[in-house]
């Protein structure tokens, strides 16, 4: 009963409206309810994610974090919001004004669209698209368009560098991100997020894909590439404060800056929610209601993201790119063979064999990468020189 409480609430609304309208209008009304639910949930969630992040990062750095506004600083996001709205909105004199205003709006739209295919509970998905996760990865890549737009239109070297880095990063990380989902699609045989969550049902709701070798590797790949995709630390080179001032949002202030922040937090949460859906069993779990399970797991993953932010230094941009092409991409390709071994050799032999194959390919690729001179192949033993060719 508690499990389906939101569904029942919505049905109550729809049947209530059914007395006045019918047919297509009723379907439209039902969709509008879903939309409003997502649109109300997302900003509220974002406000308290910022609060959570500030508190936790403060704890990691041995500080208190916000604790003046309201109990435990709980009203801090509202105070911040008021401050952001009241602040003067500055547009640089030489900026491309149209694009400069459009960019913060365009970055929030994909962040919100990502929420439409996330199954928050049993039957609680706003739109049950049959191309669910494909939609998700394509929409998440769209965010970079707005970042490049912001970087270009600001007319600032730092912004432009940030935008360009973001574009380069997304092109590289899109490939392992897409490939890390392939094993799940192969196993389920469906792209809909709802049926992927349903496929992990069983064994008291603990039949999670992360317990399979391909799921384990896929989960790691998805988390790493996902963090890079939404530009969070350790991969936040587009906005690296220590090198690029603020990256693509250097020239933004007030509400426009707040929109960039909002998009960043929303997409980070969307990535963690999608990781839960694909690999950690979605809303499946014993005893507790499904939506509560989903939120607990997503918050757990989001906590890991904050933890990484608090403890990891930022990568250099060339390290970021090399990591994608030389380590994540071969591993993601090998993962397809891992799932094939698991599928074609039945029983325990296939299971253990695929674990061994997964670990073997992991360590082989690691060894190739850590062999400092492997990619130079000059045959000499002298220290590698930085080449003169432009590339």
């Amino acid at each position: 009963m508690l499990d389906q409480i939101f569904i029942h609430l919505k049905e109550l609304l729809v049947t209530g409206a059914g007395k006045f309208i019918s047919g297509t209008w009723l379907d439209l009304f039902s969709m509008v309810i879903n939309m409003i639910a997502v649109l109300m949930f997302a900003p509220l969630l974002m406000m308290y994610l910022t609060w959570l992040e500030r508190k936790l990062v403060a704890r990691i750095q041995d500080r208190w974090g916000p604790n003046r506004v309201g109990p435990w600083g709980l009203l801090q996001p509202i105070a911040d919001g008021i401050k952001m709205i009241l602040k003067e909105d500055i547009t640089p004199a030489y900026a491309d004004k149209v694009l400069h205003v459009m960019a913060p709006v365009l970055i929030v739209i994909p962040a919100l669209m990502m929420f439409s295919v996330i199954p928050f509970g049993r039957g609680m998905v706003a739109v049950n698209l049959n191309i669910g996760i494909f939609f998700f990865i394509s929409i998440s890549a769209l965010e970079t368009m707005a970042v490049v737009m912001a970087g270009w239109s600001s007319r600032s070297k730092y912004s432009l560098l940030g935008g360009m880095r973001s574009a380069a990063q997304i092109i590289s990380y899109e490939v392992p991100l897409g490939l890390s989902l392939i094993p799940v699609i192969m196993y389920v045989g469906n792209l809909s997020t709802r049926s992927i969550a349903e496929a992990q049902h069983g064994f008291y709701g603990l039949h999670w894909f992360v317990l399979h070798p391909w799921g384990f590797l896929g989960f790691l790949l998805f988390m790493i590439t996902g963090i890079a995709e939404v530009n969070r630390t350790p991969f936040d080179t587009p906005e690296g404060e220590s090198e690029l001032v603020g990256g693509y949002h250097t020239e933004y202030s007030g509400m426009k800056f707040a929109l960039f922040q909002m998009a960043e937090f929303l997409s980070a949460f969307a990535i963690s929610a999608m990781a839960v859906t694909l690999f950690l069993g979605g809303w499946n779990g014993p005893v507790l209601p499904s939506w509560l399970w989903f939120m607990i797991k997503s918050m757990g993953i989001f906590f890991v993201l904050i933890w990484l932010r608090g403890t990891f230094p930022r990568f250099r941009i060339d390290q970021v790119m090399a990591f994608a092409w030389k380590f994540l991409l071969p591993l993601a390709l090998m993962n397809i063979f891992v799932v094939a071994i698991d599928y074609y050799i039945p029983g325990l032999i296939g299971y253990i064999g695929s674990w061994i194959f997964m670990l073997l390919s992991f360590f082989v690729i690691w060894a190739i990468n850590s062999k400092g001179t492997a990619h130079h192949y000059t045959g000499s033993v002298t220290a590698p020189q930085i080449p003169a060719h432009p590339a």
Binding site: A322, W325, L329, Y344
Partner: protein
């Protein structure tokens, strides 16, 4: 190059269980060719940022 490859692999992955072993063997050959391409690019040092 690799974006195009994802476009090919995703539909294959959806019907992977229905197609049987032959389709998997074909995809394995395709992936091996891609691996050769990746090694070639790696050795040519086109994956360096500078």
């Amino acid at each position: 190059v690799f974006d195009v490859e994802v476009v090919l692999i995703v539909p294959w992955a959806v019907v992977f269980k229905q197609l049987g072993f032959f389709a998997f063997a074909e995809m394995a050959i395709f992936l091996l060719i891609l691996f050769v391409g990746l090694i070639y690019v790696w050795r040519k040092r086109d994956l360096e940022w500078y």
